[in-house]
């Protein structure tokens, strides 16, 4: 009998994985949280919107169109479940919720293509209305044709900083400034690795030209000081320290923040995959082999949800993971070696990007005590430091239990990395020894209203945490 393969996600990795499975004669089940395919990077605008691929995706228009067309052609040959959240995974079964309807699906093989979200470092005032993630600012424009404000500052580091700023400029938004925490010299030092994918490097340089031509001020090597504003009206300005130490304040009504991306690894965690501390990215990542096999038999990880290497790499790692599934089921496959070779170049390029736009770990230790770290529950850096000192909690989950940092409804997605840095600095221990926040089911808050049939399915599947969350 043909193996039952479940693919989570219909971004670049998920679509190419599904395509490879269909080519081999299988009928995979593709589950996606979104209303339409494309993932975040190639997110499709709502039905009835009229902007062209060129307008929406710029230099990536052809790739976006190709991915969407591939998925449209696959639809009759797969079982596609949009607007469906995988909220838990147990051995060989995924637990789903769509609206208020719950169900459980068994699988022989699972390919998790869960994508990435912005990696965030808190700054004083970032909880105020009008502060968004860079990815969020991009979604507002791409998916809804809106700018996040009438005068916008983009702050942080990474390719998305320049991409979103350039997209906003092209769409006619007023970008007040681009404030980059990385330096020009870091970019120069990263150049040899960035040359692994010359076309991508060229596109990056073109983005900075868009900003120069639009006379958008770009400051490099800055340290964020504060997002100014008021509790009732939100953001009114941004203050940074320039490399020479002098302060710069820019008036704005919105700010987009981000320091590159972090993989969404909760599902890999719930599937039981082993995680290892990655010294290069300074984060815990699920262990995978070159083809995307996780440490649990039958579980494969692909795309930015496994390793942040960008959309082009995600298409390849998605396909490669699917070929690995087929191979592991004893089927004959071709092309794995070529995909591995191509991915190695993207891996080198991604390391170059991290060196060019480094995660500013050192900022965590110098955040003023009154800075909110956990946006969900408005918990400050000072409170987290106090808990570390008072209780001796030097491990992420212990510190979370005492401080509630990481316990809020984002489940540590936006405070977890900075929280770990703050704990490490307060306890004077290496970041790796702080550990990582354990993934919890449900991976996102669930609707409270349940149908009776759903409740039965849920009772069978639910962990105790899930039940507690639902019955709140």
């Amino acid at each position: 009998m043909a193996p039952r393969v479940v693919v989570i996600g219909s971004g670049p990795a998920g679509v190419r994985a599904a395509q490879a499975l269909v080519e081999a004669g299988l009928r995979p089940i593709v589950i996606d949280e979104g209303r339409r395919d494309g993932g975040q990077i190639y997110r499709r605008q709502p039905e009835g919107f009229s902007r062209s691929y060129d307008t929406l995706y710029g230099t990536e228009a052809e790739r976006a169109a190709s991915l969407h067309a591939s998925f449209d052609a696959l639809k009759s040959m797969i079982d596609y479940l949009p607007e469906t959240l995988v909220w838990n995974i147990s051995p060989n079964a995924v637990h789903l919720v769509s609206g208020t309807r719950y169900r459980t699906l068994a699988f022989d093989s699972l390919i998790v293509c869960s994508g990435a979200t912005d990696r965030l470092m808190p700054v004083k005032g970032w909880h105020q209305a009008g502060a968004y993630s860079l990815g969020g600012a991009q979604v507002a424009l791409k998916s809804q044709g809106c700018a996040i404000g009438s005068r916008i500052v983009m702050m942080g580091s990474g390719p998305l900083l320049y991409l979103v700023a350039a997209q906003y400029v092209k769409a006619g938004a007023q970008v007040a400034a681009v404030l980059d925490t990385s330096t020009f010299m870091q970019r120069v030092a990263a150049l040899p690795r960035l040359l692994a994918i010359p076309a991508a490097l060229k596109k990056g340089i073109a983005l900075t030209r868009v900003l120069t031509q639009a006379r958008v001020p770009v400051h490099r090597g800055v340290q964020p000081v504060e997002i100014k504003g008021s509790p009732h009206d939100g953001v009114s300005g941004v203050e940074v320290a320039l490399p020479g130490g002098e302060r710069l304040e820019i008036a704005c009504d919105a700010v987009a923040l981000g320091y590159h991306l972090r993989p969404e690894t909760q599902l890999a965690d719930l599937a039981g995959c082993r995680f290892l501390f990655d010294a290069d990215t300074q984060q815990w990542l699920p262990q995978i082999d070159d083809d995307g096999r996780g440490s649990v038999k039958g579980v494969y990880l692909a795309g930015d949800g496994a390793r942040v290497r960008g959309a082009d790499a995600a298409e390849r790692s998605g396909r490669l993971a699917a070929l690995a599934v087929l191979h592991d089921h004893g089927m004959h496959v071709e092309g794995m070696e070529r995909l591995r070779r191509e991915l190695a170049r993207f891996t080198r390029f991604a390391a170059g990007l991290r060196a060019a736009f480094p995660w500013p770990a050192k900022f965590a230790a110098s955040l003023p005590d009154e800075t909110i770290v956990c946006r969900c529950e408005a918990i400050t850096a000072g409170e987290l430091r106090r808990v570390v000192r008072a209780t001796g909690a030097q491990e992420a989950n212990r510190a979370k239990a005492f401080s509630r940092v990481g316990m809020g409804r984002c489940q540590g997605r936006y405070c977890g990395h900075a929280g770990a840095e703050i704990i490490a600095a307060a306890a004077s221990v290496p970041l790796a020894s702080v550990g990582r926040l354990r993934g919890q089911a449900p991976v996102k808050p669930l609707p409270v209203a349940l149908t009776e049939a759903s409740t039965e399915a849920l009772t069978k599947a639910a962990s105790t945490e899930a039940s507690a969350e639902i019955s709140e």
Binding site: Q40, A171, C376
Partner: protein, 104 residues
């Protein structure tokens, strides 16, 4: 009232009425609730932890900082919920029948 979000494209869409905190506002076909609300107001919702008003953060269903309430008291995520004709939304904790949440 000035809005926070600024419409830059897709401006020719049909519009319909929704109600926000008892005030009738205009939304466009294809708008998420978040866009419908924030094109007409500076903020989206009360923080449950007493630090003021919020306006969402990630726009991709990950941060949960855009929860608002229907008039019937149901909690919805504004960034991933389409606006629909006749919707009546509440953005204030007190009117949603909730107080500031306890932290301990």
């Amino acid at each position: 009232m000035n809005g926070r979000f600024v419409r830059l494209a897709e401006q020719g869409r049909k519009t319909f009425a929704i109600t926000v905190d008892g005030v009738v506002r205009e939304a466009a076909e294809g708008d998420t609730l978040m866009v419908a609300l924030l094109t007409g107001a500076r903020t989206l919702r009360d923080s449950e932890f007493g630090d003021g008003r919020r306006a969402g953060f990630c726009l991709m269903g990950a941060c949960q900082d855009c929860w608002v309430w229907t008039a019937a008291g149901e909690r919805v995520r504004a960034c991933s919920t389409p606006a629909a004709p006749g919707m009546s939304m509440v953005t204030k904790l007190a009117e949603a029948g909730e107080g500031v949440w306890p932290r301990a």
